[in-house]
């Protein structure tokens, strides 16, 4: 088991290295000249040349990549251009912590809701409850994120003014108030994700509940509660875990739309900010960090999956 984990960690390191090359290459082919993009309409030939020198754009590509990756390995991601005076590493750490907090709160809503509703729906397929849940989840999945976000803002900030429409965190307010700011974005995320996870759980529950194993257990008089928890849920959860963990990766690094709508200072909105400002060091750092979040979450998912399915464990 330990060997397996080490192997996976090494694989993550290799993937990150490949990702770093890709991220670096993609940033180079962003449309337009980076210096021109940053200075915009007010650019003068002198200011362009000065900025290119500052950004190291006058160096050859392999050297720029080498300098960058060497810095990253030392933990130095460079300095942000668009947020003057801040190192990229500190910005990312700060934003990643916020993303993690939002992801955690969203998961607190998503996981029990999805497992609960999915199980209930799966236990009686095509019943009234199942139909309501299926149609409901279809609707929440198909609504684009910004639409659900705006809908929730109108409902909870305007019609029933109980929640803030913007989630701009600040260090002076207490934990309760911070949590208050997180509710709407977390609700939006759970609207989207719960549907996916729930459908996965429902399908697994249907499959397991109609299996020979459960039939035998029922006939041999095992109590319904035990059947539900020991047989159905345990087996049905394994595939759902993968989806949940994939979701976590997305929740940490990929929330560009939701974070932007709520002005929430997470990793996704930082990445968007970096791209629109053509802040090359920040784009590279934030993108790499998002990739890392996905990979780590996948590893965690696999480990939980193995925990639930001992027979799949490597020798």
């Amino acid at each position: 088991m330990l060997a397996y984990v080490i192997k996976r960690v090494l694989a993550i390191a290799a993937s990150l290295l490949v990702a770093s090359v890709l991220v670096f290459a993609i940033v180079q082919v962003l449309p337009g000249d980076v210096a021109q993009m940053i200075l915009g309409r007010d650019a003068t030939p002198e200011s362009l040349a000065a900025l290119r020198r500052d950004l190291g754009l006058d160096q050859p590509l392999p050297q720029r990549y080498g300098d960058w990756i060497a810095g990253v390995l030392r933990g130095d991601f460079g300095r942000a251009i668009s947020i003057p005076g801040f190192p990229v590493g500190a910005l990312i750490a700060d934003r990643a912590a916020n993303s993690l907090a939002l992801a955690a709160l969203a998961s607190l809503l998503i996981v029990p809701l999805a497992i609960g509703l999915g199980t209930l729906a799966g236990l009686r397929p095509n019943g009234l409850f199942d139909r309501i849940v299926s149609v409901g989840s279809m609707i929440t999945i198909s609504l684009p994120e910004f639409a659900s976000a705006i809908f929730l803002i109108i409902l909870f900030a305007k019609v029933f003014p109980i929640l803030p429409s913007m989630s701009i965190l600040n260090a002076r307010i207490g934990l309760g108030a911070q949590l208050h700011l997180l509710i709407l974005p977390a609700l939006t995320l759970s609207l989207i994700s719960t549907g996916y996870v729930l459908r996965m759980v429902r399908a697994s529950v249907i499959e397991v509940a109609t299996s020979e194993q459960v039939k035998v257990a029922t006939l041999t008089g095992v109590s319904p509660g035990r059947i539900l928890f020991q047989y159905v849920l345990r087996n049905a959860l394994a595939p759902a875990v993968t989806i949940i963990a994939m979701n976590m990766g997305w929740l940490i690094g990929g929330l560009v739309v939701v974070e932007t709508v709520f002005a929430y200072p997470g990793l996704g909105s930082l990445l968007l900010h970096a791209v629109t400002q053509r802040d090359v060091p920040l784009i590279q750092g934030a993108a790499l960090c998002s990739v890392g979040a996905y990979l780590v979450m996948n590893l965690i998912a696999d480990l939980i999956y193995l925990g639930l399915n001992p027979q799949l464990r490597p020798a």
Binding site: M37, G116, T119, P161, T276
Partner: protein, 511 residues
């Protein structure tokens, strides 16, 4: 099997109900959003922008931030945009308008405790010439030949050519006065330092800035508010919804289509600013087919200007005559507005050797209203004359990096500028932003003459000739000038939009 389903369903439904009740309870604990206290900070919603040090301000958002922290030699004040001395106490000039002496107000202090002096004005002016800063004012102040310190508070400028409007240049958003003994390169963006009405208490870039009243502000009784909170929100829809929900107090730019809706709402008040914003469709006069003035004229004749204004800007503005000069200026010469004439446009195209019409690609900014609407309407109107328009809309960053000054036909948003400044940067031969690559020696001479002319009537006569040249021969289709709008909560009073983008927050107060 049946039993299993029943039981499980039964248990969990009850559990689910309990869970739901607990959730509702948790929400209730937080309670409703509290009503805003009278002395609570006034919340201003702005799109985030990286640079907030004057000299490097790029757009309106950062100009608004700077407006709270810095002061200018002069400001535009009140509904009538009155030109008012601010850090300058007086300004004198010789009979020729070539030597200008500016005396600063005594007893003004920067946030770092330094007293305002001539050194600060000289430092600020020199900073615009530093290539590393990249200040757009470098090109604007080229006419200054010498600048000397007369005494502790007085600076004398000697200009290369006479300029009766010299002082107006100090209204530019980037012309705010900085203090000479502060490290703006290292600290300016994180810890701004000016003489302005508010001092920065806390600033988290791209998230929020908390400002409090500057107790030693040099204008007695100002600012009126004790505290401001600038919240950086990039999504315009969130800005509007937050304003509607009472969670933000001031939104700087209100889209045209929301103006009528908000004007009907008692909780929101709408501010309107008459000014010379415009969206020119500019043709490159050094490239075919637009090097032929007949083609440019045909392009101008296909526009129904009234319909364009009504549809693209909901009628909020004034019709324009392709002449760059906003009718609000006192020296604007009132010439009849061009009427749509499709037949004449067709004739001109045929004479120019295009009997079957022409194909035109217009590259425009996609994210600055009303640019895209103007271009789409133009596409419809031009069709009748055989001008087949293909529209390419790109976001502003890509537009300025790849197409501005380069593409054959472009359309983007231009902010309000004094007419002579505008002409000097847009249509004069070799000007910085001469995107039509237009060159007309007679126009250059007239611009120079009008710049040096201090007499209003004589200047108006010169403008009559300038406007006629631009209207008949000039590089752009300019259908209208449009107003800009802001919105605030009705209980927040005193917010003033200004033509130079430095909106005034000094009079803002609640209740």
């Amino acid at each position: 099997m049946t039993q299993l389903y029943e039981t499980a369903n039964g248990i969990s439904r009850r559990a689910a109900l309990k869970l739901g009740a607990a959730g509702a309870g948790a929400l209730a604990v937080f309670g409703a959003m509290p009503a805003r206290a009278k002395d609570a900070p006034i919340r201003v919603l702005l799109a985030p922008e990286p640079k907030i040090v004057p000299g490097q301000l790029r757009a309106g958002g950062s100009a608004n931030v700077a407006s709270c922290i810095y002061d200018w030699l002069f400001r535009l004040e009140g509904e009538d945009q009155k030109f008012t001395p601010s850090l300058a106490e007086r300004a004198d000039h010789d009979a020729e308008f070539k030597i200008w002496t500016i005396a600063l107000r005594p007893g003004v202090f920067f946030h770092n405790g330094t007293e305002l002096s001539a050194d600060d004005l000289i430092f600020t002016m020199n900073r615009h010439n530093d290539a590393a800063i990249g200040s757009p004012l470098k090109a604007v102040f080229t006419q200054i030949r010498t600048m000397e310190k007369v005494d502790k508070l007085t600076v004398r400028f000697v200009l290369a050519q006479p300029d009766p409007d010299f002082l107006l240049k100090f209204l530019d958003k980037n012309a705010a006065i900085l203090v000479h003994d502060y490290d703006y390169a290292g600290q300016g963006d994180a810890k701004p330092c000016g003489t302005g009405p508010f001092t920065v208490e806390e600033y988290v870039p791209s998230q929020y800035m908390r400002l409090k009243r500057n107790p030693s502000y040099f204008v007695a009784g100002l600012p009126k508010a004790d505290a401001l909170e600038i919240l950086f929100v990039s999504d315009p829809q969130t800005q509007m919804l937050s304003l509607e929900a009472g969670q933000g107090d001031i939104v700087r730019t209100l889209p045209f289509d929301l103006v009528a809706k908000y004007q009907k709402q008692a909780a929101i008040s709408v501010q309107r600013l008459a000014c010379g914003y415009f969206t020119p469709i500019t043709m490159r006069c050094d490239q075919k087919p637009f090097d032929d003035v007949r083609v440019r004229r045909a392009m101008k004749l296909v526009v129904d200007r009234k319909q364009m204004l009504d549809n693209a800007a909901m009628g909020y503005g004034e019709l324009a005559n392709d002449d760059y000069v906003w009718p609000g200026f006192p020296y604007h010469a009132n010439l009849p507005v061009k009427q749509q004439d499709i037949a004449q446009a067709r004739r001109l195209l045929a004479e120019a050797g295009h009997p079957n019409g022409i194909d035109v690609e217009i590259v425009c900014e996609s994210n600055r209203p009303p640019v895209r609407d103007v271009v789409l309407l133009y596409q419809q109107m031009a069709q009748a004359a055989g001008i087949r328009v293909k529209v390419k809309a790109v976001s502003s960053d890509i537009f300025y990096a790849q197409y501005f000054m380069k593409a054959t036909v472009v359309c983007e948003s231009w902010g309000h500028r004094e007419a002579l400044d505008l002409l000097a940067v847009s249509v004069r031969t070799g000007a910085t932003w001469n995107e039509g690559h237009y060159s007309n020696p007679e126009l250059d001479r007239l611009i120079e003459e009008a710049t040096a002319e201090g007499d209003l009537e004589k200047r108006r006569a010169l403008f009559g000739r300038i406007q006629t040249i631009l209207s008949d021969d000039g590089p752009a289709v300019i259908p209208f000038f449009h107003n800009v709008f802001a919105a605030s909560r009705a209980d927040v009073k005193g917010f003033l939009l200004t033509q130079n983008w430095i909106n005034d927050y000094r009079f803002v107060t609640r209740g």
